[in-house]
């Protein structure tokens, strides 16, 4: 009985060839694009997307012009699974091919998990200081912090994408609403000048400052410095409007405080933080270069890891090619800053980090098994 056309298409080797060709083109374009596009944005535009979009100049349309990484990977995965399910026979003779293909399937699944769940952040620490959080390289958050508890701070984190909608944000944890009448993806701070558009901020440091819009950038050597005017309003009336601004280098307009019904709050736009149940203290930072060159010889951070819940309190050394793996995250020695006054650890969370190793092992094993069977079969026939 002939299979339905959709099944024929999904199991087709022709489809596999087309997908592989499209993937090669996508990787080529995505790689070339990184000449002018930061790797983070290239990843979003070409690979972590269903389609690659094109926006005609002067318009706001996003027209899909090429399949993106998600689409190619998903169809490829369906193609592999369908081919196995429908056409391949599970026999010992085909075991090598089945193993290799299983490895490929696992590789694609691992890639999807990585795209969905992996996270890279950084931890910047000065010698003698400690940190219990990492910061995103690119993502920001507006935080409103309830400082009333002497032991803890309660943090309400609002993503800038919500501020950009200019909608009223209401949360049960806050007695006031939050709304941003103006959000700038990239802005320069300047002193407010008479004659400039009326000042939106009437509280805090924003009274004296202005956020001058700057064209958002995706270039690899440039960064965006977001700013927002944030209005807080009680049922009884507005509390005021604050100007917040931040940079990817960790500097921002400092937390601005205000009081509502006897409770002290802070408001700040900052790099998004990921808090940990443990703390890392930097005991000592080493930065050595090969004599007479600027080539790094040794970057090393001597740290103390303190995790009361897991009863961990130990010293360890993080240096090039010797990261610390702890609690599902890997801490790499990334760089030092400001004449070695800070260490920067790159912290990678990737729950599916083992999958590429397993999948490559499966593919390798499958190829060895399949080749081995052919080889021994050939030798046997020759001997006979």
């Amino acid at each position: 009985m002939a299979r339905p056309r959709i099944i024929q298409a999904l199991t087709s080797l022709r489809l596999t060839i087309v997908l592989l060709s499209l993937a090669m083109v996508l990787v080529f374009i995505g790689t070339l694009a990184q000449k002018n596009l930061d790797a983070f944005y290239a990843q979003q535009k070409y690979f972590n997307t269903w389609f690659v979009y094109w926006t005609p100049q002067g318009s706001h349309w996003s027209i899909p012009v090429f399949p993106g990484g998600f689409l190619l990977g998903s169809v490829f995965l369906l193609n592999l699974i369908a081919a196995h399910a429908v056409r391949f026979k599970m026999t010992w003779k085909k075991s090598g091919i089945i193993l290799a293909h299983a490895g490929l399937i696992l590789l694609l699944v691992g890639g999807l998990f990585t795209a969905l769940w992996s996270r890279e952040s950084r931890m910047t620490i000065a010698p003698g200081a400690s940190k219990s959080y990492t910061e995103s390289f690119k993502e920001f958050e507006l935080v409103i912090i309830d400082k009333s508890n002497p032991e803890n701070d309660r943090v309400v984190s609002i993503p800038p994408s919500l501020l950009a909608t200019h909608k009223v944000i209401q949360l049960p944890e806050l007695p006031f609403t939050v709304k941003s009448p103006r959000y700038l993806e990239n802005a320069r701070l300047d002193m407010w000048k008479p004659g400039a558009p009326p000042q939106l901020a009437d509280k805090g440091m924003g009274i004296r400052l202005d956020a001058v819009p700057v064209a958002p950038t995706t270039r690899p050597e440039e960064e965006n410095y977001p700013a927002a005017f944030v209005t807080l309003e009680m049922p009884s009336g507005p509390l005021g409007t604050w100007l917040v601004w931040s940079s990817p280098f960790g500097e921002s307009v400092p937390p601005q405080t205000f009081t509502v019904d006897g409770t002290n709050y802070e408001i700040q736009l900052r790099l998004k933080r990921f808090y940990k149940p443990y703390r890392i203290h930097l005991d000592h930072l080493t930065h050595e270069e090969y004599a007479g060159t600027g080539i790094p010889k040794n970057f090393a951070s001597q740290i103390q890891l303190n995790d009361p819940k897991r009863h961990e309190d130990r010293k360890t050394l993080i240096y090039m090619n010797h990261p610390l793996r702890y609690a599902g995250e890997t801490f790499y020695q990334y760089q030092t800053l400001a004449d070695d006054k800070f260490t920067v650890l790159e912290v990678v969370r990737n729950p599916s980090w083992m999958l590429p190793y397993i999948s490559c092992s499966l593919v390798g094993l499958g190829l060895v098994v399949q080749f081995g069977m052919h080889l021994f079969g050939f030798i046997k026939r020759r001997a006979a």
């Binding site: 200081a129 701070d153 993503p159 000048k193 008479p194 064209a215 940079s247 500097e251 006054k341």
Partner: protein
């Protein structure tokens, strides 16, 4: 969105990334046991003080243009940092100590998070100079900050300013290291035209100043500044009292201001004219000084035209100031 609870952050546990070294327009001699930290775009100076049993205190030197929102606003911001309620300006004036930092009057404030000596303490000085406000602040473990008070005062007394603020150093606000291409230019300033009175030598206006003049008569000098700030810039009374503080005079009330000030009509609207005679301290000696200032509150901001300097010279230039005010031509009247 997310909501979560975290332990309180020690200010020393937060690393500040140095993005650029600001021009050092102020120098000091810090105590030897103060550990210097990298300066940042917000901080002109930063130190870490260590005490026994792991106690720590953080010292910062920060400058902002203008009055940075006003003394009481900043004091309340610090009070909020150690969970204290806000106070009124009158309460601040009663509790703050007026000190002298190398000839410039400053306000010294101290606040304790808890009355039993635990928690955190803030010791800070606020100084207004050349249309900028300087904040010298120590915050940390209460016993440690209390023990460091003498060192802090000695540190304050060692502060020396490098001279008039230049355009490059005038702004202590964080400015991005890297700019994107094609920045949108700022709006054109609505600077008024004016006629410069005889005897006023025009200087290069920098920082917050829209105009700057010098008056010299023998050894006597006076400075004229034209400054524009957004909104009501803290209010007429707050600014008048700030100037009074600079001349070692006590604050006045709104009623006192109404009685003592006069009004002059200008094309930009009515100007409140105040005449403040007091004294300044320099090198341990006091000399009579005067501030003659006009404040014009407009829809687009508040304009300050101020003569500061030798008492007699400033008084002599009152009619010149009135002529200057009458010569102002704002682009959009009213």
């Amino acid at each position: 969105m997310s909501v979560y609870t975290v332990p309180k952050e020690d200010s020393q546990a937060t690393a500040q990334v140095e993005t650029s070294k600001p021009a050092r327009e102020v120098t000091w001699t810090a105590p030897k046991d103060w550990e210097e930290q990298p300066a940042t775009e917000m901080r002109q100076g930063s130190f870490l003080v260590h005490g026994g049993n792991g106690a720590k205190a953080d010292v910062s030197v920060v400058a902002f243009p203008g009055d940075a929102g006003g003394d009481v606003a900043n004091v309340n911001r610090w009070r909020g940092q150690i969970n204290l309620p806000e106070i009124e300006d009158s309460a601040l004036q009663k509790t703050a100590q007026k000190i002298d930092i190398n000839g410039t009057p400053a306000l010294l404030v101290a606040m304790d998070e808890k009355s039993d000596g635990t928690g955190r303490k803030i010791l800070a000085a606020i100084l207004h100079r050349d249309d900028r406000t300087w904040f010298f602040k120590m915050m940390g473990n209460t016993p440690l900050v209390t023990a460091q008070k003498d060192e802090f005062i000695t540190f304050l007394q060692s502060v020396r300013f490098a001279g008039e603020s230049t355009t490059a150093a005038a702004s202590a606000i964080p400015l991005p290291m890297v700019q994107s291409s094609s920045p949108i230019p700022p709006a054109i300033s609505a600077k008024p035209k004016w006629k410069v009175p005889q005897g006023w030598q025009e200087q290069t206006a920098s920082g917050m100043r829209q105009g700057s003049f010098a008056i010299t008569e023998g050894p006597s000098k006076a400075d004229v500044s034209v400054v524009a700030l957004s909104g009501d810039a803290g209010g007429v009374l707050a600014n008048v009292n700030r100037w009074r503080g600079q001349l070692s005079l006590p604050d006045i009330t709104e009623d006192d201001l109404t009685k003592s000030a006069t009004t002059v009509e200008t094309t930009g609207g009515p100007a409140v004219l105040v005449d403040i005679a007091g004294e300044t301290s320099a090198a341990g000696s006091k000399s009579p000084a005067r501030i003659l200032a006009a404040i014009i509150v407009r829809k687009d901001g508040t304009w300050f035209i101020k003569i500061t300097g030798n008492d007699a010279l400033v008084a002599k230039n009152k009619s010149a100031l009135l002529d200057f005010l009458k010569s102002l031509e704002f682009p959009n009247h009213g």
